[in-house]
Symmetry: C2
Subunit: 253 residues, 2 copies
DNA sequence: GGAATAGTGTCTGTAAGACAATATAGA
DNA sequence: TCTATATTGTCTTACAGACACTATTCC
């Protein structure tokens, strides 16, 4: 992998002159990819989208949705994430947030590799998984991991992404992005509880959501088994709300 | 920049077989770098370390401390950040946090480029800037920017890093990492105020710091002009403290 | 004593936690 | 009616904001 071309020794007259003679192969570069942890909630569990790899390395192992940057067609890193996400789910504009970047010598057997990890939140309803060449499925998260053995360091990436999500749910309205078009406050609370893995006080929860002012009532009610519940929908063009106080729960110690 | 080698069409017998024949030059890769926004506080101002570039592109312009990954010697991205930081400041283990990664087609005139941005917090005392081939200096931040015209998209990177720092200072003990060995509570409050750009309530501030339990008293006092103040020092092996409540200040709206 | 800075007392306000109480459906 | 879930009332607690007050130094 060591490049034996000689380093730049010439001097240039201007920025333009330099760029005219620029040789991108002089220095070796790490490989660069984007991986997206695509979360949804259903069956009472937080689930993550995984894909079976069809190529080496880690051929036939499950992995997070990701891939290399298309230098021709992707304008930005986020474009790469969105492109891959749309390829697999058909969804164009979900909640997408950059999480962190992992880069080191050992994570890829092919050598130095950098991956920027995003996480996406999708409502589960209406998502039709795009079955292309490879298998794809939702896998439930238990104990901060999926049952499948994941390729590369994806188990660790997943663990860190879950931690980030869980932490952020303590002080934001993020779970709203996991909901179907219409939902009840009970539904939303359930989603918070599934992610946080702990029951919340109903009264406090409703006070918080009311304060955030991110929902609007619909005229409809959900008629389930017992008392009907009012259906809400996320207001248009609403940003994630940041609460000034965190839900009680061990952040420190 | 388009690579004209043909893509992989052969099939391999095993992971090992694949790796034996792996050619890293098949696909073009973006350039990958690390930039670190090195903050300190002195003269009543938040300051950032900048270096004058000696090479193209942006020759002779000021820039954040950064550089390319040394694929041979750096094990991880953070190693790259630490190496560059030590080269410039001589400091080995400051507070260092990964901030975000920017990758797009236009940020570098040489083409697709990805940079992972870290921010570091250093106490100003005792730091001897390492004057190597190039000029280096602290530049005060006013209005979320420095006076110098920075290379690449570093002005924007700096802006975002400041935003991140400022936001985090509202609910953490981060500024403790900017302090000299011994300091008074007044000193610490001043640093909070400089970063937040607003005066804080002394009583509330002291309550918060006491709650965080990150400091220990020394027996010494600082004898300044008027009433002496008790000197504190950061406890050993203390983590950043996360407060459950944010200091009042517009996060939403 | 006066000025200046260090440090405390204490009242108010806001939102979270706890939990009891009430409301509305179907069986 | 009873049961289950939805929804509200309200008391307590924790901690931030406001601001007055006290303490300690030098002049």
């Amino acid at each position: 992998m060591i490049n034996d071309k000689s380093p730049i020794t010439e001097t240039y007259n201007s920025e333009a002159d330099f760029l005219d003679h620029y040789d991108p192969t002089i220095f070796d570069r790490p490989s660069t990819s984007v991986d997206t942890v695509i979360f949804t909630v259903f069956d009472g569990q937080l689930q993550v989208l995984i894909v079976k790899r069809t190529n080496y390395p880690f051929k036939n192992q499950w992995a997070l949705v990701g891939g290399f940057i298309d230098l021709e067609n992707d304008e930005t890193l986020e474009d790469t994430a969105k492109r891959k996400l749309e390829e697999k789910t058909g969804v164009k504009t979900p909640y997408l947030e950059q999480c962190f970047t992992i880069g080191n010598k050992q994570r890829d057997p092919r050598g130095w590799s950098v991956t920027t990890v995003y996480f996406a939140l999708l409502p589960h309803n209406k998502i039709q998984l795009m079955k292309g060449a490879n298998e794809i499925k939702w896998s439930p998260i238990m104990n901060n991991q999926v049952q499948e053995l994941l390729a590369f360091d994806h188990t660790e990436i997943l663990r860190q992404a879950i931690e980030r999500l869980r932490n952020k749910v303590l002080y934001t309205s993020l779970p709203a992005y996991l909901m179907a078009e219409k939902f009840t406050l009970g539904d939303l609370q359930k989603v918070y509880e599934i992610i946080l893995h702990r029951p919340l006080e109903t009264k406090s929860f409703r006070r918080r959501i009311a304060k955030a002012d991110i929902l609007e009532e619909t005229t409809e009610m959900r008629q389930d088994a017992k008392r009907p519940a009012k259906l809400y929908r996320l207001k248009k063009d609403i940003n994630t709300y940041f609460f000034l106080r965190t839900i009680e729960g061990a952040i420190n110690n």
